[in-house]
Amino acid sequence: MVKVFIYPATSLILSDMVARFGHEPLGSAIGIRERIQTPGFESPPLQITPEEPKKGLKWAAVEVPSGVRGRMAVYGPLIEAAEAAIIVRNPDFAFGCMGCARTNELVLFHLRNRGFPVLELDYPTSDDEGAAFVAAIREFLEGLPKEASQ
């Protein structure tokens, strides 16, 4: 089982597929749930404090907007922990969506430069493409080691 970063990180479908094929998905849910500072578990998320953009300085310089650095404080550690990644290009909003284009560029850059297996594919626009999309993801996940490298 390896840790697979999913992009878009909010995609429940991707997360579910990774888990079904026996690996650990790394996405927004993981990053966000570690920061519980709200009154209750189901409270609206306000878990990020001004400390996060400062932690984000590890991945983006101070002249980069605070929203990018705050997001990188959530995604950066997950990218560092990941051993593989699946990147879906141009996904529909409903498939999963990350709000900031600049952060997305930086996340993709880091994923492509980590030196681990990465599957990049376009979001399907027809049934046939959909079937090929799922098959490609299955093949990629089945090809990953069953045991973590570390």
């Binding site: 990020i48 929203g67 990018v68 650095r69 909003f93």
Partner: protein, 412 residues
């Protein structure tokens, strides 16, 4: 308690910058609530595509979809707050275009702000207060004449001003540097009362504004305690005799600057800022001090000089002063240096703030700095228009407060 003013938030990044709570807190301080307009994914797709601005960030697409829903009346709101990350070019384009779009297509007051992780609720308070005032007090802001005997006090960061008005005339003024907030206010009020020939017992209503407004409002038991954005807009169009139609009000203050786009005396959009003191009246005070003249002499001196002869970039007050010292050491004339300082401040306000409001004539300059002729001239050159400086422009906040406070004379 009055009904809460509902402020629709259109934004990208505040939650990940850790400042969403600050936005909520600032709204709560003025009895308002911030909400995110609830729209469907299809509305986002449709709204974004029909708006025609091809941005890549999904959160900005969402903001555009929400703005369309607000303008089309699908969502009920009293005001709009647009917030995006400081230094994001894509977001800055969206912020400006949405502000203009909402301003031109609805009657919703709108304010935009670019935040960093250091933004606090205190920074946002004046903006939120202005938004809620415009939404809540349209009747009060519609007042065009002062009635009875009223007192207006403007407790600013550099100076404290007081004005007594009687039956639509300014009958007494007082001005003191702000040292101890209450003591300065008391002194300015005493001067204004003495000039007007009235006592505190004759005053029928009091209005306060400026940084110290809450403190002095409580001390003087004021009926109206109001931020300076709405008060200054009202005072400016009142004194300039331009209460109807559009106008642009510029106030370069001691600590920050305001640029307000006004329609019929009510602010529509505004910016308030001054990231560095280099773009404020404080820099001109320092310039006057370095030139060994009184601040009142700086304007006429600048009018005799050629600013272009002196390289000056006062984005920071420290480096600006350094350029000033260097220029003098290299033999530049005092006139040229004074003109360059005025041009530098005007240019910064032009570049950093006036780009965010729609400049509509007349352009009215108010506040103490509007008496610095060289600064008004530089601003007029940059805007390519004649800038109006009304009488008593240095007392603008106090006049606006006295005018609006007269709404309380008859218990409006």
């Amino acid at each position: 308690m009055s009904e809460k003013v509902r402020i629709a938030q259109l934004s990208c990044g505040p939650e990940y910058s850790g400042v969403q709570k600050e936005i909520y807190d600032a709204a709560a301080m003025v009895d308002a609530e911030v909400f995110f307009p609830d729209i469907m994914l299809d509305d986002v797709r449709e709204g974004f595509e029909s708006f025609g601005l091809d941005v890549r960030s999904p959160d900005l697409k969402l903001a555009i979809g929400r703005a369309k829903a607000l303008v089309e009346g699908k969502i009920d709101a009293d005001a709009v707050f647009i917030a995006t990350c400081f230094r994001c070019a894509e977001a800055a384009i969206v912020r400006n275009e949405l502000r203009r779009y909402i301003h031109e297509n609805s009657s919703l007051p709108v304010v935009s702000y670019s935040f960093t992780e250091r933004t606090t609720s205190g920074t946002l308070l004046t903006r939120m207060e202005a938004l809620t005032t415009i939404a809540r007090r349209r009747a009060l802001l519609a007042r065009e004449e002062q009635e009875g005997i009223t007192l207006g006090i403007d407790s600013g960061s550099s100076t404290t001003k007081a004005v007594v008005m009687k039956e639509n005339e300014i009958v007494g003024t007082g001005w003191l540097p702000t040292t101890e907030v209450l003591k300065s206010a008391e002194g300015a009020v005493d001067l204004a009362l003495a000039e007007a020939g009235v006592t505190m017992n004759d005053i029928q209503a009091i209005g306060t504004t400026g940084y110290g407004r809450y403190l002095i409002g409580k001390h003087f038991n004021a009926q109206l305690v109001q931020e300076e954005l709405t008060v200054n807009s009202k005072g400016a169009v009142y004194l300039a005799g331009r209460q109807h139609g559009p106008a642009t009000v510029i106030d370069i203050g001691g600590m920050d600057n305001k640029a307000i786009s006004v329609l019929d005396g009510i602010p529509g959009t505004f910016t308030m800022g001054g990231i560095c003191a280099g773009a404020s009246g404080r820099f001109l005070e320092m310039t006057a001090k370095r030139l060994g003249i009184d601040i009142t002499e700086l304007g006429p001196l600048a009018m005799k000089g050629m600013g272009e002869k002196v390289p000056m970039n006062s984005y920071c007050i420290v480096f600006g002063t350094q350029s000033l010292v260097n220029a003098l050491a290299e033999g530049s004339s005092r006139e040229d240096v004074a003109a360059a300082a005025c041009h530098s401040v005007a240019e910064q306000v032009f570049e950093q703030q006036l780009q965010e409001v729609d400049i509509k004539e007349p352009v009215i300059m108010v506040g103490g700095t509007s008496l610095i002729q060289g600064l008004v001239y530089a601003m007029g050159q940059l805007l390519q228009t004649e800038v109006v400086v009304p009488h008593h422009s240095q007392y603008i906040g106090a006049v606006g407060s006295a005018l609006l406070a007269s709404g309380f004379v008859k218990g409006e």
